[in-house]
Amino acid sequence: MILLNSNAYHIYWLGRYLVRIYNLCEHLPFTQTVQVHEFCQAFALPMYDVTSLNRLLIESAEPFSLKTQLYIVNENVQELRGLLSIQSYAEIRDLIKNVGENPIEIRETVKECAKRLSNENSDIYLFFTLGEQVEMLDTRLRFRENISLLVDEMSHTLNRLIDLGWGELQSFWHAFVQQPYSSAFYILLGKLHIMFEARQ
């Protein structure tokens, strides 16, 4: 199977969005103002109150709402139609289409989608894992949590990418490992996104 850069890009973002949705569902519904402020600060949102934020995340069509993010997941799956196996495509599509409304059901759906993608070709799984790890790292940096274990895991993933010929990422990754802050991380991501587009 030949994996196109564009396919890899969509798989990567599929990984990112599924983790993003899963993490969001772990917070929902917010019950305490402190939690809400921490969340809003991490994601550079206005300081909503508990009720407003819950409503925006669960019910609305705002860019950061669950509904919008599930829509983006579906969009990415559609772009992968010619690549995913018939069964995976149908099952993931069905899962997203019939996703429940409460955060617990949504988390289960996300887990099921990830399970199906883990059964796909190893190249597909590599980029899916990359997306998952990037999103987890991004979230942990935002909440100032410990990232050392995740950095080790992601090193392994990046080494596999380098074996494919993505060696240009190496210096950016080293720069981030040396100075594991958001700024270096986003420079790394910028390079990664360019490589999806212009790899020749």
């Binding site: 196109l4 139609r81 010619g82 690549l83 495509y89 010929g165």
Partner: protein, 517 residues
């Protein structure tokens, strides 16, 4: 199925006045009873050629076998089987979008459980006729882009070809491997009241529908495993492999060629089919952003670096293939693609410029092409066609508009046509003006009583009009055609429209030697 679909709008007077060809099972008590046995199909007898009853190549016993299978089930059971087919389509996303549909609703193509059956010897004639036709059309294409011998004889007016919108000057004197311009062709076939097969249209650009042909067979196996197995159907499942072999055979390289399927993207109504074929052939499905040209070659961008492309099975129209050669505003094509193609560094299937041969204004000449290039008589006839660009034929058409079907020479999807017997006086007068203004843009055909096949409806089994689209695969050394093709059926009572965007459905097509149950 948006590409070059043809509405079968040839209506008969009888059809307009009275439709009496279905079994009415309105009585709700019958919904739990078995369908009427023995004479289930007999009751469908009407003035139309019934594919199941009137084909003398079948033994009467053959027809009874399907009747018996149906009769052993209630209408509810059969309806539920059809519903399972719909659910299968929905679950797998085998849907299509209708252009211009504001809601952007995805629709499934209605599938009818009752197969269309063609006896093997009949099929052999259709097969031979399609192969002959595609051979002649490919030779015609080679000729008009090279020595133009047929034009010199005057058999086909040179003006009509050279000024045709689809004629690609870039292709003039470009040598194509094996002289194959249309590697994938779809021939639309109908049957008249005498059971005679006619070719309604040739599709040489980007014919679609093969994925539905394959899905119909898959569903038939799921819903009627016993009947399918017992009848030893001629297989069609190898189509994707045959297509891949055909594309590979057209390549210009000695090693295993890199083949890609070029799609306009997922908003194209046939995207499902593009994805299906790419996956079944195990080749990349690409859009314009995945391809680039470098030093005269076409490459795809993969995670392991660029890879040279040898064959592009394109499902993008000519005009959008290359913004440097055709429409400059196209974002669906690849800048520089035509330069690579003309240098012989990549194969495009089907070749640019094939559209001139599948146009309705060229269609009337195909019989002549067969005689000219192959020195043979056509095995499959054309529907008689009047070319409005010819004065005497225009005069005839103008004075018989209420009896004819008039179509745009470059139209598709049933738009821009007039169905004389169904048109009002005002519509006819309005169309007369159009014809007088641009006669070269229209052709006309007499109405035909199209054949029908038993089809499951809410009320029971009823007759519905059908057509057939076999798919022909051409490479320099051989021509392949999988048995059958796609049968399209007009699902609505009284309708002759098989177009999927207007409610047309599909049936599985069985080629058998003798039916068994």
């Amino acid at each position: 199925m948006a590409e070059h679909e043809e509405n079968v709008w040839n209506a008969s007077d009888h059809y307009i006045q009275e439709q009496r060809s279905h079994v009415l099972l309105n009585n709700t008590s019958l919904s739990s009873e078995k369908l009427q046995t023995v004479n289930l199909f007999e009751q469908l007898k009407s003035e139309f050629f019934n594919e199941m009853l009137d084909d003398t190549t079948f033994s009467e016993e053959s027809c009874k076998k399907i009747e018996q299978w149906l009769s052993r089930r209630t209408l509810l059971e059969l309806t539920e089987l059809n519903l399972r087919a719909k659910q299968h389509f929905l679950y797998h996303g085998i849907t299509f979008n209708v252009y211009g549909d504001q809601e952007g609703v995805e629709r499934t193509i209605p599938f009818d459980l009752i197969p269309r059956v063609i006896e093997k010897k009949q099929w052999e004639k259709i097969q031979a006729g399609c192969v002959q036709r595609v051979k002649a059309l490919n030779q015609f294409l080679y000729d008009i882009y090279n020595e133009q011998e047929i034009l010199k004889t005057g058999l086909i007016p040179a003006y009509q070809v050279m000024t045709h919108e689809a004629y690609q000057p870039l292709m003039y004197k470009h040598q194509i491997h094996g002289k194959i311009y249309s590697q994938v062709s779809g021939i639309d076939i109908i049957r008249d009241n005498q059971g005679e097969f006619f070719v309604l249209e040739d599709n040489l650009r980007t014919p679609s529908g093969v994925s539905y042909m394959l899905e119909s067979r898959k569903i038939s196996h799921q819903l009627m495993p016993d009947l399918c197995q017992a009848n030893n159907l001629l297989g069609i499942e190898n189509y994707p492999q045959l297509l891949k072999q055909t594309l590979a055979a057209n390549a210009l390289v000695d090693h295993e060629p890199m083949i890609v399927v070029l799609t306009p993207g997922r908003y194209n109504s046939a995207f499902y089919e593009h994805a299906f074929l790419a996956r079944e052939m195990d080749v990349p499905l690409v859009s314009s952003r995945d391809l680039f040209v470098q030093e005269g070659n076409v490459y795809i961008k993969t995670i392991r670096g660029k890879q040279k492309v040898d064959v592009i099975y394109r499902r993008v129209d000519d005009a959008f293939l290359d913004p440097l050669a055709f429409r400059p505003d196209s974002t669906l094509g690849v800048p520089g693609l035509m330069a690579c193609y003309l240098q012989g560094n990549v194969v495009i299937a089907n070749a640019p410029g094939t559209g001139v041969a599948d146009d309705k204004s060229i269609y009337p000449y195909v019989d002549s092409m067969i005689q000219f290039y192959l020195n043979e008589q056509p095995i499959l006839k054309n529907v008689p066609t009047y070319q409005c660009r010819k004065k005497d034929e225009l005069d005839y058409v103008l004075s018989h508009l209420d009896q004819l079907v008039v179509k745009e020479a470059q139209g598709s999807g049933g738009y821009g046509m007039l169905i004389g017997p169904q048109a009002s006086e005002q519509e006819i007068d309005s169309f007369k003006l159009k014809l007088k203004q641009s006669p070269e843009a229209y052709i006309a055909q007499p109405t035909l009583k199209l054949s029908v096949a038993p089809t499951l409806t809410k009320e029971g089994v009823a007759e519905r009009h059908i057509d057939l689209r076999p798919f022909v695969l051409s490479s320099p050394d051989r021509i392949d055609i999988v048995p059958g093709g796609l049968t399209r059926v007009a699902m609505k009572q009284g309708s002759l429209v098989v177009n999927s965007s207007q409610g047309g459905g599909i049936k599985d097509t069985w080629i058998v030697e003798a039916l068994r149950s």
